[in-house]
């Protein structure tokens, strides 16, 4: 998958969890993703 397909779901979503969040323990990545999306979609970001 190229980076252009990063916005596919759930494939791109899972790819970011696996590759972009690789420094986070695997079992914590989904919870982290929810917090990550909350912040980057907020009005303040």
């Amino acid at each position: 998958m190229s980076d252009k397909n990063i916005f596919s779901y759930p494939e791109g979503y899972e790819k970011v969890k696996k590759e972009s969040f690789d420094f986070i323990p695997e079992e914590q990545r989904e919870e982290f993703m929810q917090g990550f999306l909350y912040i980057i979609t907020s009005i303040f970001a």
Partner: protein
């Protein structure tokens, strides 16, 4: 009991209309002012957590508020910058931090998709519009960098709240305690924007209502409610906060239709679990007072922005604790005596039976919003005055 716990208890007593001898003073003063009043340039400090931290300490040393809305957590620009966003303007000369005035990252046909799967909508339709450089850059690396910035931002929030606790100041209402927007606000502020949402409420009201009713106060608040234990946190003032910003475009009828169900959920939860919620309520709200009058007494603090609090108290009574009242215009352009006289008037009229927390009526977000000498005089008065 520590001094921090005393401050937290005083906040709770105000919420419950228990009279105390002194009124608490909450800083409705935000990052750009805290940074510049402390001698930093925004263009330097906004990307440097050490400078933001020092700015908060200097500001507190100078003004000695009891509570703060913001410990310089409002604008996590390092996160959005890592995603390539430059949709903000830092103006050091005028002390301004500006954003685009309206947004629109969804279309009317997206309501059904959001209902079906919000994550899928955000992932496939939202992110590439809001963060357009993800389309052409190394998106995997940019997401990774942004994730590390989220961790750095959260670490800063933990550190500044911990350090301010050592200075006897309870957690800030933003990022110190849980804070939420209902889904109408998410539509207004983050997804559809003012114009788009206004049109949708006229053209496709059923879709807007169905989404607002279904999503109510969002997944974050659902998780908070699910994990909640009965009782209030002795180390904070409020237990959680809600921000009411986009309701200002609604008529009373629209408020009842699109907004009230989610606000009622907050009221019901606060009463059932013995929590205190701090409502940050922008604009003028007199047409909505009958809804605020349904708040469970002792559980709701409402910081009204443009309201005449004397009139609000007559109409809403003791169902909520009022917060705010000090006119920013007066702080900016009045004399010290005028400011202190008005502060005394507010406290004498609103705090006689408890139920009042002193603060600036509007967000103080620009250097032109206040005269530091007036703010110092008012804070000294509020600190020393006994009811």
């Amino acid at each position: 009991m520590t001094k921090l716990e005393e401050r937290a208890e005083a906040y709770k007593n105000a919420a419950k209309h228990i009279k105390s001898d002194r009124v608490l003073n909450l800083a409705n003063i935000w990052t750009p002012v805290i940074v510049q009043d402390s001698g930093f340039k925004m263009s330097e400090a906004m990307f440097d957590y050490d400078k933001l931290e020092q700015a908060v300490y200097k500001f507190h040393d100078k003004y000695q508020f009891d509570f703060y809305m913001d410990f310089c957590n409002r604008n996590p620009l390092r996160i959005s910058s890592a995603l390539g966003n430059t949709d903000y303007i830092i103006d050091d000369e005028n002390g301004a931090l500006g954003y685009a005035t309206d947004i629109n990252y969804m279309q009317p046909e997206d309501y059904d998709m959001i209902l079906e799967n919000y994550d899928e909508f955000i992932w496939t339709k939202y992110l590439n519009k809001r963060y357009q450089k993800l389309n052409s850059g190394d998106a995997i690396k940019m997401m990774s960098d942004a994730a590390k910035e989220v961790i750095a931002f959260n670490n800063y929030a933990v550190k500044i709240n911990t350090e301010m606790a050592k200075r006897d100041v309870p957690p800030a209402l933003l990022m110190g305690i849980p804070g939420y927007f209902n889904f109408y606000e998410i539509l207004y502020l983050s997804l559809r924007g003012l114009r788009g949402l206004s049109v949708d409420m006229r053209r496709i009201p059923d879709k807007v209502k169905k989404l607002c009713d279904t999503m109510k106060n969002g997944n974050g608040f659902n998780q908070y409610m699910a994990a909640a234990k009965k009782g209030t946190n002795p180390l904070s003032g409020a237990d959680f906060a809600f921000y009411l910003l986009g309701h200002n475009i609604l008529s009373k009828k629209q408020f009842e239709e699109f907004y009230w169900p989610s606000l009622k959920e907050v009221f019901d939860f606060a009463e059932k679990y013995d929590k205190i919620v701090h409502l940050f309520v922008e604009s003028e709200n007199s047409r909505f007072y009958e809804f605020f009058a349904q708040a469970p007494k002792g559980h709701v603090v409402a910081h009204f922005e443009n309201d005449n609090l004397f009139e609000a108290k007559k109409q809403i009574g003791d169902k909520i604790c009022f917060c705010g009242g000090m006119p920013v215009d007066l702080l900016a352009r009045g004399t010290k005596k005028e400011c202190v006289d008005y502060a005394k008037h507010l406290i004498d009229e609103l705090a006689a039976d408890g139920g009042f927390i002193f603060s600036q009526n509007k967000m103080v977000a620009y250097p032109s919003d206040y005269n530091p000498e007036n703010l110092l005089a008012v804070n000294e008065f509020v600190r020393e005055y006994r009811i």
